[in-house]
Symmetry: C2
Subunit: 338 residues, 2 copies
DNA sequence: CGACTAGGTGCAATCGTTTTCAGCTATTCT
DNA sequence: AGAATAGCTGAAAACGATTGCACCTAGTCG
């Protein structure tokens, strides 16, 4: 039989209300009383029941997190950012993998809402009308991390995938390349897939280079896609001289594919990745990549959520974090003319 | 104002008790009544309050998970196994990073207990008396995943680190090596650190090879440790011909360190890793490594926990999962004499 | 045909807190 | 000195479900 607040009250010779005040740090308690209560708590080994508290106070200090796949390096890093800030603000996190399956995403959202979380952080790819429908029934704030809703209604934290794709391609163009291939993410993914690809196209277009379909391989962001993409590119009569991959995993696959065929990176082909997961530094040559501040996206999203949960004023509900290109050895140093 | 069970009862013209029965799938409800209630629920958009339910039923269908670092590939994979099985059994997971700091581990345990989780899965390295003290105050079952308590009281799921370390070393010995170095994990870690190292020593000992201190580098399981370890080994007059690293990250660091110095793997030096994280396949040469069934450790631990939570009989409270060596290209193919 | 049984339902207590409100004491102000 | 105020405290009503128990209706059995 667990110790309740009532037991403590009896032991300390006060009312439950007073015990509650002590536990919650309410200043309106005489120091001597506080001491008595604390002693009773200690003596009895009292542990407040957060479920009862949640029911009475209507706050659970718990937030829900929906994540496509926690075993992916990218999302794990985001999750870490979320968890750190959450714990800083004394929140706990209910974490669930959605596998990016719509049905599961919606079901999880409902479950979290039933559990009375104080807020939700959602990671995924596409935000459909189905999502919006469920999200709008929520009485608590929802923040998107690493994605963005097309209507721009929901608060979100992300980078500009379009500009990032553009910058990466432009980087290769500036290095003098004219035959630049791309390994895209799934085009069904509006951001990591489509927008990065659109950035690529825009950069080519601006440079007066026409996009060739044979220079585009539609991957799934995983390592194996990179290997396969290279196979396609190397079979071409006019091979590309540079490859931009929409994820680091694919980029590393690309590097290995190139090396396996006896060519060298960056001498024969240059490669640029995307994300800057730790893997980017654990490959030879180390990968030049678009740095996405994954940890920060998670952290900022969580911070944003706390503001909503506390009814604080929020100036911008859509946050775009900066990206940049980290040059390593998978591309050649560009000569800077002075 | 959210819809409560009472609103549904009124709308359907029945009592709260009946609504509760319908919601919980209690068979003692006339089909026509059930239909009415379901209609009312649908119409009102009723969402049961799990907090209230938790208070009344004393079950939250939530389990706590304490993890050292979710952004580590190893633990993320474990977490995935846990989450998959949890969701299969309709449990949600409260996930928190401990950073392996004792104080935080204990604090998190208490917080989870306050939140009335139905059970806890604990991942970490050392299980001290402090842990035991807190764990025994818990009214709910606690299962260790990827670790084991020295007293053998707590249920746990893990591999035999000692045997795995032994096998890896033996593998190298069988390949004809006599100068075998090891990059260990932190020796303060009794399992991934100490036990694997002890396995290494035993294998050497059995083979009549004496262990040399200069052939042992005390790493931290991270990539950089591997690089540094190689520096030490290569500075020796009598260099090792094979290196066993206690983690894949370190092993990849070792490979790159070797390559950076102009030597080749496996021709000049062979390398064996530990864990079999995805990285092991995303490096050239691909890494021969001790396969640890990370996902399964998580999954089995969660499954075990469900048994305890349902008061099912459990035959073995300590589960040792099998490990094996996956041969890839960082070691030479052993000639099998027929 | 009367007595049981079983299915279906509602009443009301309970879970362990928070929180409003009122009341009491002791102090401060005029 | 009397009134007003500030600081502490307790009583009791929520919070929104679950669940044991009693009750009622039909159907079944001998």
């Amino acid at each position: 039989m667990p110790i309740t607040i009532y037991d403590v009250a009896r032991e300390a010779g006060v009312s439950m209300a007073t015990v509650s005040r002590v536990v919650n740090g309410n200043p309106n308690v005489k120091p001597t009383t506080r001491k008595k209560v604390l002693a009773a708590i200690e003596q009895l080994g009292y542990r407040p029941n957060a479920v009862a508290r949640g029911l009475a106070s209507k706050r659970t200090t718990t937030v829900g997190v929906i994540i496509p796949d926690i075993s992916s390096a990218f999302f794990a890093e985001l999750a870490r950012g979320i968890d750190d800030i959450a714990s800083m603000y004394k929140y706990n996190i209910i974490l669930s993998d959605s596998d990016q399956r719509l049905e599961r995403e919606l079901h999880l959202t409902n479950t979290l809402l039933e559990k009375q979380v104080d807020g939700i952080i959602f990671m995924g790819r596409e935000i459909t009308e189905n999502h919006m429908e469920v999200f709008t029934t929520a009485a608590v704030p929802i923040v998107l991390a690493g994605t963005k809703d097309p209507t721009g209604q929901l608060p979100s934290v992300d980078i500009s995938h379009f500009e990032a794709g553009y910058d990466a391609t432009k980087f290769l163009i500036n290095a003098g390349h004219t035959r630049i291939a791309m390994v895209t993410g799934p085009l069904g993914d509006p951001l990591a897939g489509m927008r990065r690809f659109e950035g690529y196209k825009k950069a080519l277009d601006e440079a007066g280079l026409s996009m060739k379909d044979s220079y585009v391989y539609n991957g799934n962001l995983r390592y194996e896609s990179g290997i396969k993409a290279v196979k396609q590119f190397l079979s071409l009569v006019e091979r590309p001289t540079a490859i931009f991959a929409a994820s680091d995993e694919m980029a590393v696959g690309v590097i290995h594919g190139i090396q396996d065929s006896g060519l060298r990176v960056p001498d024969d082909m240059e490669v640029v990745g995307f994300d800057n997961i730790r893997l980017a530094e654990m490959v030879r040559p180390r990968l030049t990549t678009v740095v996405q501040p994954m940890y920060d996206i998670g952290a900022v999203a969580m911070r944003l959520l706390t503001k909503y949960m506390n009814n604080e004023k929020v100036e911008n509900h859509i946050v775009i974090l900066p990206h940049r290109i980290e040059e390593r050895e998978s591309t050649k140093k560009i000569e800077t003319t002075i």
